[in-house]
């Protein structure tokens, strides 16, 4: 029996509250992180990811309270990202109750952070986020370029080579977001997932673009992802985690079913 494929709801957290919006527009308060996390746990979420989008760095410590409170009541792996730039930031989050952290911009600014962090706290805690956007390299060929700062800044770094380097440096998982698909509801960039999975031997999480249950299925069955992460389809109640798993299970994907 292979490992189950994981379904991971992602929550944006601003100043200690869950918010929802599309592409950083129309951001609305969507509740207390503990209540939202409990709801997803009850639906059968395999992990929960929190993305701290708090703009003011002086309010950054509110995420620590969120992690502490959620970890006291929700007992599945918790991943936290946003504003992490040092091993000490990582340790603080893990001590508050996070199980994994995700870094993107900080890894690009300083790739040694990935090596240092995996050495210090273990690879299994380090998720490297790759925000990639297609780029034409010739009339018939495309590649993917890494972006930072939520997709605003191009880096010139090739996403596939970066994925390989991150594995060597000790990343435990890769969270791959297609900036072309994010927010479109057209489905994951399956080719991007396939190319990355052909190059690395660590788990990959597909993100960006889910609109339907079939999109979730294709991310796993065609894109070869080990896990899928989605935000809006869960927050807006389009589907529950349970419904996603029922669908995947019917299509022959091995998932952890939870019956309340």
């Amino acid at each position: 029996m292979p490992l189950t494929k994981r379904i991971i709801p992602c929550l944006d957290v601003d100043n200690g509250r869950v918010v929802k919006g599309t592409k950083f527009v129309d951001i609305k308060d969507a509740g207390d992180p503990v209540e939202v996390a409990k709801k997803y746990n009850d639906q059968g979420a395999d992990e929960i990811t929190f993305l701290d989008i708090t703009a003011s760095s002086s309010n950054r410590k509110t995420i620590l309270d969120v992690v502490e409170n959620v970890a006291s009541q929700v007992f599945i792996p918790l991943t936290v990202g946003g504003g992490i730039s040092s091993v000490s930031d990582i340790r603080t989050l893990l001590n508050s109750g996070a199980d994994k952290i995700t870094i993107n911009t900080a890894a690009i600014k300083n790739p040694n952070l990935v090596s240092d962090a995996s050495e210090a706290v273990g690879s299994q805690c380090i998720v490297v986020a790759i925000d990639a956007k297609r780029k034409k390299v010739s009339s018939s060929k495309e590649s993917w370029e890494i972006y930072t700062h939520g997709g605003r800044n191009a880096t010139g770094i090739d996403a596939l080579k970066w994925a390989e380097e991150m594995e060597i440096r000790g990343a435990g998982e890769l969270l791959v977001t297609s900036m072309d698909k994010d927010g479109t509801k057209e489905g994951f960039d399956l080719e991007l997932m396939q190319e990355i999975n052909a190059r690395v031997n660590i788990p990959t999480i597909a993100s960006g673009g889910v609109g339907t249950l079939e999109d979730m299925y294709r991310g796993i069955a065609v894109g070869n992802a080990d896990a899928v992460l989605a935000a809006s389809i869960f927050h807006f109640g389009t589907y529950t985690v349970h419904e996603v798993k029922e669908y995947l299970s019917k299509k022959g994907v091995n998932v952890r079913q939870v019956y309340e």
């Binding site: 029996m1 490992l3 189950t4 746990n41 007992f75 599945i76 199980d99 690879s123 660590i202």
Partner: protein, 206 residues
């Protein structure tokens, strides 16, 4: 009120284990400790762990905890979790070979890579098949899911001590019981309702 001591030997982040035990044992006194006296005075022991075998064993030895761990594993209910299960064995292949505590006969070895593309560590949710009845299984269905993160597995000499088995490329012992000891390779503190039930069953064992 009982005292449950979570042994701290400086190798892992114990906040998840502490939070989960406090959640299932709200009326008990749950402590995180490396004090010989506190551990000896506790009613039950939880022995977690993360990281590499050699570092774990040197931390245990540096803190002079090997004897107190052995003594307490005989005298009272004792739960090993993840690396806290592996170092109970005689020996681990990890880090070019590491002598372990020798409380349970057998060794620790890396997963066999049985096919291409099999990812190690074994990380994620997998089933545990119950091999025998045991109070730790009370109210937990056969083939329930637990959350795992590990690259090495235990091979106990006494196959009858295997009370739970999991398959990842090969079948391995994921839960073991010997006298007062129960140990699990997965992370009950991260295994949602099933994991909490497992911890609660341990708290209620006498």
């Amino acid at each position: 009120m009982k005292t449950i001591a979570i042994i701290d030997y400086g190798m892992s982040n114990l906040s998840s284990v502490l939070k989960a035990v406090e959640y299932v044992a709200p009326n008990d006194n749950v402590i995180v400790s490396s004090s010989l006296k506190e551990i000896n005075n506790a009613d039950k022991i939880i022995f977690p762990g993360q990281g590499a075998a050699k570092k774990c064993m040197s931390s245990i030895n540096d803190k002079n905890l090997a004897c107190v761990i052995k003594k307490n594993s005989i005298e009272k209910p004792f739960l090993g979790i993840c690396m806290g299960m592996q170092v109970l064995m005689d020996y681990s292949d990890e880090n070019n070979g590491t002598e372990c505590l020798g409380i349970i006969k057998g060794k620790v070895r890396r997963f066999h890579k049985t096919k291409d593309g099999m990812k190690i560590p074994h990380m994620g949710w997998n089933r545990v098949k119950k091999k025998t009845d045991h109070p730790i299984w009370s109210g937990i269905d056969d083939n329930s899911y637990f959350y795992f993160v590990h690259s090495y597995l235990i091979e106990p000499e006494n196959k009858a001590s295997v009370i739970g088995e999991t398959e990842y490329g090969e079948k391995f012992c994921s839960v073991i019981a010997k006298d007062n000891i129960v140990a699990i390779q997965g992370h009950p503190e991260k295994s949602s309702a099933i994991g909490l039930k497992f911890l609660k069953n341990f708290i209620e064992m006498s």
